[in-house]
């Protein structure tokens, strides 16, 4: 009973929040609504007994991702709204719904029709975090390492992309401009050495 109330409550909240995110024209509203939606989603994880996932959801999304978005938005002129021309909203809604239903259907089909065996059955004796850790570092070690490398690469990419000199495109510049830029760059470095 309690579970049901919690589910419906959070379901309603999540849907509302995400709808605001998608529909509002204010970037700030959207950001806020989404951060809230993420937190509400973590509630489902807790209800489903995936405590670790819930914690991660709050930390990663609300803590890290939303923070990055917030910082990112500081670069942009958020007060100036992008004029969004809308065409055929009903078509968009129908198409989105259809795609979603199909995806779920496909994911669900094997579960409903055949008796899948659990590869890694949930053991209620150990806590969720401990069990996750055990599975993650035994069966999913290689994907885990790969994910770590991927995050590292993404971090470096983010730093480089947002860094200096990236406002100019080398591919779109003429040879002279590149030479000029290179000269000024070497000039600066020699000056630094002189200091």
């Amino acid at each position: 009973m309690f579970e049901a109330i919690a589910f419906y409550l959070f379901a309603a909240l999540t849907i509302v929040m995400f709808t605001i995110t998608v529909m509002t024209s204010q970037a700030l509203y959207a950001l806020t609504a989404m951060a809230a939606g993420m937190i509400f989603i973590s509630a489902f994880f807790f209800i489903l007994g995936a405590d670790f996932l819930g914690a991660i959801q709050i930390i990663v999304y609300t803590g890290a991702v939303m923070a990055i978005y917030a910082f990112g938005m500081m670069f942009f002129d958020t007060t100036r709204n992008v004029v969004e021309k809308r065409s055929n909203p009903r078509f968009v809604v129908v198409l989105g719904a259809l795609a979603a239903v199909l995806v779920v259907f496909i994911v669900l089909a094997p579960i409903v029709t055949t008796n899948l065996n659990a590869n890694y059955p949930i053991d209620l004796a150990v806590g969720n975090s401990q069990a996750i850790g055990m599975v993650l570092f035994t069966k999913y070690l290689v994907p885990f390492e790969l994910a770590a490398v991927m995050l590292l690469v993404a971090m470096i990419a983010g730093i480089v992309l947002a860094g200096k000199k990236m406002d100019k495109s080398l591919t779109l510049m003429t040879e002279e401009d590149i030479a000029l830029m290179h000269d000024s760059f070497t000039h600066e470095s020699t000056q630094e050495e002189a200091h």
């Binding site: 198409l95 795609a99 496909i106 089909a109 029709t113």
Partner: protein, 629 residues
């Protein structure tokens, strides 16, 4: 001996391929010389083989396996026996002469090399036809001859009439070839083999009606090649080709194939005398029919062509009555003088700048003495005057008809002999005697190259002596294979009356022809407007009837198919498909407008489509699999 067999067979092929190498180049004398030389080699080999066969041997080789599938076994086998060696001699002699002659005749033609390539291929096909030891090999040669005749009749392909005539010849032959193929299939179906020896040994065991049908179908094939009624129209139209080709077709390589087939298949026809009688009757009819058309025609080459048709009729009479050796003998004798006649006509044509109407010639004996002598000689031989070749072969056929008590055939043939003499000498008289009508047309004739005349000389000699000298040795040789029947009229009085009577009749016809045409040509308007004259002049209206009955409805049908089926269904479908694709491209190229937003939208649509397909296929797969379980 096998070596000589292969030389005789393949020398023309080598010549053809060699000349064919230079087919696209302008005239090169050596192609003609080499092709002729190779043909001469073929002739020499044939002569050696003839000598060998005369001693009572035959050569039979199996070159290689051609078709071996299941029970079907057909080798590339060749046989040189009494019949085929006769044909080989005829073919190689006439072809060699024609080749040498063509070097002069085609000297100024652009397609000189090409001509020799075709000509040698023609001879090769005929060699395959006569030397094969089975019916399928014969059929290959048969088709090769048809193809080469198409190439050569249409040699001057820029002339519309030539291409038309070539197509006509090819199509008519094709109709007959189908029947022949059916005959061959029936033979294989019932006997399980196509080898001559096997077929002929076992043919008597078949039920009567099957032998009859085989005989009929094979004869229809022979009718097409030998231009028997009603498939005869192509032969006269084939005169569109260069004259040496006509000589070759008429004397050696094509029309004789039909006679050869009947002679070769004599064990089959011996079983079915009724069909034989039908063949003989048709032959007599054609002999008469063609001779009457030749009476009034105004085209030199066509007259000779009709004469060939008529003589083929004689051969079929002999073959149909079971006198196979007589048919083959007449074939041989006829080949010599008919080739001579055609080559002489070629000389005249050259001298007359391709004028073919003998009424516009006349008095040529002054300027073209050699040709005059040769053509007169050939005509005498054709008319059957003692002691030239025609007398021995043609009168023999008359005797056959008489002895076999087919008096109607005999009468028809006798009348035809008179007609033959008349039209032959009408032609000679019109061309070589009388006043020089061609001067009005500003033509100054000249004799052909002397080497062309020398090339014709052997034929002239053969036309004179072939009957007298060759008859007995030929008879002794060929009756080893063919039924040996002698036709003697037992009553000596009857024999002498018949022979002398025929000679007198023929001489009278010749005299009448000379009298009527040798001096001044008077055109009798009354006769020419007469019904009979018009009927003959228009070839019994048969080409017209064919045109009305077959060609025009077919043209209509083709037009209907073109306009209704091709344009409205086939073309429309193709255009429709192209249009759909084009319109689709036109409509959908806005998809690629470079707008990321719309691209995303399309991406989602694509995703939906793929998902639907995935669901549908999985559902379908499961449904099938569950059913199977």
């Amino acid at each position: 001996m096998e070596v000589y067999l292969y030389i005789a067979l393949f020398a023309p092929l080598v010549g053809s391929l060699f000349a064919g190498l230079f087919g696209a180049y302008p005239k090169m004398l050596f192609t003609g010389v080499i092709a002729s030389g190779l043909l001469f080699a073929s002739f020499v080999s044939s002569a050696i083989l003839l000598n060998y066969v005369l001693t009572g041997h035959t050569v039979h080789v199996e070159m290689m396996t051609w078709i071996a599938a299941g029970d079907l076994y057909i080798p590339f086998g060749f046989v040189v026996d009494q019949v085929s060696v006769t044909m080989m001699m005829v073919v190689s002699v006439v072809s060699t002469v024609v080749h040498v002659y063509s070097i002069g005749y085609m000297a100024h033609d652009k397609g000189f090399n090409r001509f020799f390539s075709y000509l040698s291929a023609f001879v090769f096909s005929m060699m395959v036809l006569v030397m094969s030891d089975n019916f399928l090999g014969l059929f290959i040669g048969w088709e090769g001859v048809g193809l080469c005749s198409w190439l050569l009749i249409g040699f001057w392909y820029h002339k519309e009439s030539a291409t038309w005539a070539a197509n006509e010849a090819f199509i008519m032959n094709r109709i007959a070839d189908l029947a022949m193929l059916i005959g061959i299939f029936m033979m294989y179906w019932n006997l399980g083999s196509l080898q001559y020896d096997v077929v002929f040994a076992n043919v008597a065991t078949l039920p009567m009606h099957i032998i009859t049908w085989i005989g009929i179908f094979l004869f229809i094939g022979a009718m097409g090649k030998s231009a028997q009624f009603p498939l005869h129209t192509w032969l006269a139209d084939a005169m569109e080709g260069p004259t040496p080709v006509s000589a070759l077709i008429h004397a050696a390589t094509m029309v004789t194939a039909g006679v050869y087939l009947v002679v070769r298949a004599n064990p089959i026809y011996s079983e079915i005398p009724d069909v034989g009688n039908a063949i003989a009757s048709l032959g007599a009819f054609v002999a008469m029919f063609a001779a009457t058309m030749a009476l009034v025609n105004r085209d030199m080459k066509r007259i000779i062509a009709y004469s060939t048709l008529s003589q083929l009729g004689y051969m079929f009479v002999a073959a149909g009555l079971g006198a196979y050796w007589v048919a083959l003998f007449h074939l041989m004798a006829h080949a010599f003088f008919k080739a001579l006649l055609f080559l002489g006509a070629g000389n005249v044509m050259h001298a007359m700048h391709d004028e073919l109407d003998p009424f516009k010639m006349g008095g040529l004996k002054k300027s073209m003495k050699g040709t005059w002598i040769f053509m007169t000689l050939a005509s005498v031989a054709l008319a059957g005057i003692y002691p030239l070749a025609g007398f021995f072969s043609k009168d023999l056929i008359l005797e056959v008809a008489f002895v076999e008590q087919h008096y109607i055939l005999y009468t028809v043939l006798l009348l035809t002999a008179g007609l033959t003499a008349f039209y032959s000498f009408r032609l000679v008289a019109l061309i070589f005697h009388g006043n020089e009508r061609h001067l009005e047309h500003g033509i100054h004739p000249h004799e052909a190259y002397s080497f062309m005349l020398y090339a014709m000389a052997p034929l002239a000699v053969l036309a004179v002596i072939a009957g007298m000298v060759f008859k007995t040795p030929y008879y002794l040789m060929v009756t080893n294979l063919l039924p040996a029947m002698t036709y003697h009229i037992h009553n000596h009085t009857t024999f002498w009356i018949m022979t002398i009577g025929t000679q007198l009749f023929v001489i009278a016809a010749i005299t009448y022809a000379y009298k009527k045409y040798a001096k001044a040509v008077k055109v009798d308007k009354k006769v020419e407007s007469g019904l009979l004259y018009q009927l003959l002049y228009n070839q019994y209206y048969i080409p017209k009837i064919y045109d009305e009955v077959f060609s025009k409805p077919y043209l209509k049908l083709s037009k209907l198919a073109w306009k209704e089926i091709d344009l409205k269904i086939v073309d429309a479908t193709v255009d429709g498909i192209a249009n759909v694709i084009y319109q689709t491209g036109e409509k959908t190229h806005t998809m690629q407008n470079g707008n990321l937003s719309s691209m995303l939208r399309w991406m989602v649509i694509g995703l939906v489509v793929l998902l639907v397909l995935a669901v549908a296929f999985t559902a379908g797969y499961n449904a099938v699999n569950l059913q199977a379980m």
